[in-house]
Symmetry: C2
Subunit: 100 residues, 2 copies
Amino acid sequence: MDRGRAEVLAPLLKALADPVRLRLMSLIACHTSAEACVCDLTPAFELSQPTVSHHLKVLHEAGLVERERRGVWIYYRLHPRASRVLDALSDLDATVGASR
Amino acid sequence: MDRGRAEVLAPLLKALADPVRLRLMSLIACHTSAEACVCDLTPAFELSQPTVSHHLKVLHEAGLVERERRGVWIYYRLHPRASRVLDALSDLDATVGASR
């Protein structure tokens, strides 16, 4: 991996390196039509809707999710390439954390 | 992804979310026998050997690399499951960063 690519990927991983944002990515991927608005996602967390919106904004700014406004709601879906990373991460189970 | 797994993965991603550590992972994977010591890795960076050792320690503490002492050197190799994440990340090219 060259330096340029590493410098593109590092902030993307930083955006993902948060338990709430990881779960948001997974919830969006599993939601009907693989898209969701903040109103669909907030009930899964013990967090306010503005806080969940903030985490969605971080994911969007990192290029991990795409968004589209329809009426009063914004709908989020995973960037296609982000889906593959999520699959790989799902496979990276607790044994990694336990192997220290 | 449930909350427990998200809380295991988040610190692991945080450990990866650094351009030097991403390149270290890639360099170790590509080195002869897929293992390397700090003396093999330092020349690729404009960093001191203690700084590179520090980054290797962060990767080890996150469970992303395994290490083994042989004589005066410690040899590092990727944890097998980390290899798959690295493959997925290599595929996640600059278009993600460019899609904002």
